[in-house]
């Protein structure tokens, strides 16, 4: 796109400095909301924009806010900045490089939700980033955009950062709430949903970093303008995290509905050595694999199209896998991740990810039989639809799809050992 709406630091140097942000329209959306719009009007504008949650689920943001029960206070806004999905690195860039737009987005969401306290839950590894955010929050307060009775309104707001400590599961919103309450990060049984029973048992809105960063332009320029970007059902810009076998990995801000081919070839510069893509993971390590056919390369990257192809767009973390990748090794890598990150609360995920990993190690060792490959598919099937939270489902996506699409990559280990086998086995010795 000619203009970056989210990755604005790429157009405006030093936009992470308050005076630069202010000189480029910073906090005008918040001023407009506080002085000329009711919280309900802000919510309606966001609903009309068609903005969908950018954390992965793609749920309409305004609708999510509207689930808050009337007249129950205090309410909280919690920001999911636990970015931990292998292949995802967009929120980090937004918070590091364009922090005030993100923070203004928090203030807009908090105003719409009438939440006077917001917590940014950052993954623990974002240690430096959280300290930078603390400084930016302090500057925002000094400039009069935080604190009591903002801009003469009746609305007050404080924003705090909170560091996690290395747990992917805390990206799941109810596990995140548990963690923020000082407990182990295990998902809650729903209902009740966070909108009614969230942080400290109070009504709570939880939004992703990128979702919130979309709000200042929506309020400043209006929903009708926003809808001119993207597709009718997937409106707006999206930051695509491109990684794996590409010449120019990185974050690319594009309208939803841009094709994989544009991202991978026009922007990403294609694959190193002119190699061919074998498969694409559209949503990071939890993706159901797509075979990289011409039709898939021409597929628009929007929520509906990718779902129709049997995968999901999720957080739009596109990992490109070239023809050299052994998909049974890939399934081993993702299973190792999910087994490590399973919180242990529900049995299908805790035991299932353990057995998937064991079987995949066995397959990679070259000592497995066809029976073991069959059993792997069965274990994955027994996890499906039985877990408390999406982590279990995420774990089986790459396993089931690599079995279905690339069975030959499993078969080849049954008669011959893998070159990676020794390494993999010793890692877990």
């Amino acid at each position: 796109m000619s203009e970056h709406i989210l990755l604005r630091h790429r157009d405006v140097a030093d936009i992470d400095k308050l005076e630069v942000y202010l000189a480029h329209g910073g906090f005008e959306a918040l001023r407009k909301a506080l002085t000329a719009q009711t919280p309900a009007q802000v919510l309606e504008e966001v609903k009309a924009s068609g903005l969908r949650g950018r954390g992965g689920a793609g749920f309409p943001t305004g609708v999510k806010w509207s689930f808050l029960p009337k007249d129950v206070f205090p309410r909280y806004l919690v920001v999911n900045a636990d970015e931990s999905e292998p292949g995802t690195f967009k929120d980090r860039e937004l918070m590091e490089r364009n922090p005030f737009q993100f923070l203004e987005g928090i203030a807009l969401a908090a105003y719409a939700a009438q939440a006077e306290r917001a917590y940014i839950y950052c993954r623990g590894e974002f240690w430096d980033l959280a300290r930078d955010l603390d400084r930016h929050i302090a500057q925002m307060g000094d400039a009069g955009w935080l604190g009591a009775r903002l801009q003469g309104s009746t609305f007050s707001l404080e924003i705090y950062t909170h560091l996690g400590a290395g747990a992917y599961i805390c990206g799941e919103e109810t596990a995140l709430l548990e963690s923020l309450e000082g407990k182990i990060g295990q998902p809650r049984i729903r209902p009740p949903f966070p909108a009614t029973y969230g942080l400290f048992g109070k009504p709570t809105v939880i939004n992703n970093v990128e979702t919130l960063t979309n709000l200042p332009p929506i309020i400043a320029r209006g929903a009708a303008w926003y809808r001119t970007i993207g597709t009718p059902k997937s409106s707006g810009p999206k930051v695509f995290s491109l990684s794996g076998h590409v010449n120019r990995p990185g974050n690319y801000e594009l309208p939803l509905g841009t094709t994989f081919r544009t991202l991978i070839y026009d922007l990403g510069g294609g694959l190193p050595g002119g190699r061919k893509p074998k498969a694409i993971m559209p949503a990071g390590a939890s993706s159901t694999l797509l075979r990289a056919t011409e039709a898939v390369l021409d597929m628009p990257m929007d929520y509906e199209s990718v779902a129709a192809a049997g995968s999901m767009l999720g957080s739009a973390s596109v990992i490109v896998l070239d023809e050299t990748v052994d998909m049974s090794w890939l399934a081993l890598k993702t299973s190792r991740f999910f087994k490590h990150e399973s919180c242990g609360k529900c049995t299908p995920c805790r035991e299932g990810t353990y057995w998937m990993l064991r079987l995949l190690e066995h397959i990679q060792s070259g000592e497995a039989t066809a029976e073991d490959v069959h059993l792997l598919g069965q274990v994955a099937g027994q996890i499906q639809n039985k877990c408390l939270c999406p982590l279990g489902e995420f774990a089986i996506g790459p396993v089931q799809s690599s079995l279905a699409l690339f069975a030959e990559d499993f078969q080849l280990h049954i008669s011959q050992p893998s070159p990676r086998a020794a390494a993999v086995v010793s890692e877990h010795a």
Partner: protein, 168 residues
Amino acid sequence: MLADKHADEIRSLLERYPPERKRSAVMPLLHLAQREYGWITRAALQEVAELTETTSTEVGTVAGFYTLYRSQPAGTHTIQVCTDLPCALKGGEELAKKLCANLGVRLGEVTPDGLFMVEEVMCLAGCDRAPVLQVQDARGIQYHENQNEDSAMRLIGDLRRASKEPKA
């Protein structure tokens, strides 16, 4: 004692949460304890429990669940190399092995001088600049991206030299 040495930081951490929800400060205080002691000692669990008006068992459960908290002493600098899928596609696994070989240790083993430990770590959200590693020490956590054996060994050399300089 954390309470004496870091009184201001502790006060500001506790102020972030409602007064009746002090337990929310368990994780930030565990980070503080680890920075101070290098790992989560039994005494630290008790200190954090007192500050947050909960029990050391509850605090211990939290410390055990989250991977950034250490239950035993580590090297002065823990080098954590990402070997998850996007980094593995760019040589993350080999990088971890080479660092171990160069330092003469296995994964998770501390060098004889007590300075370094190499570990594998889960995705660090830096996949466009793979392979990525992070260094965890008393200063906190620092990212180092686009790494290879040479750059990582230079970093290790720099950290070793810095450790020999007299503390300011």
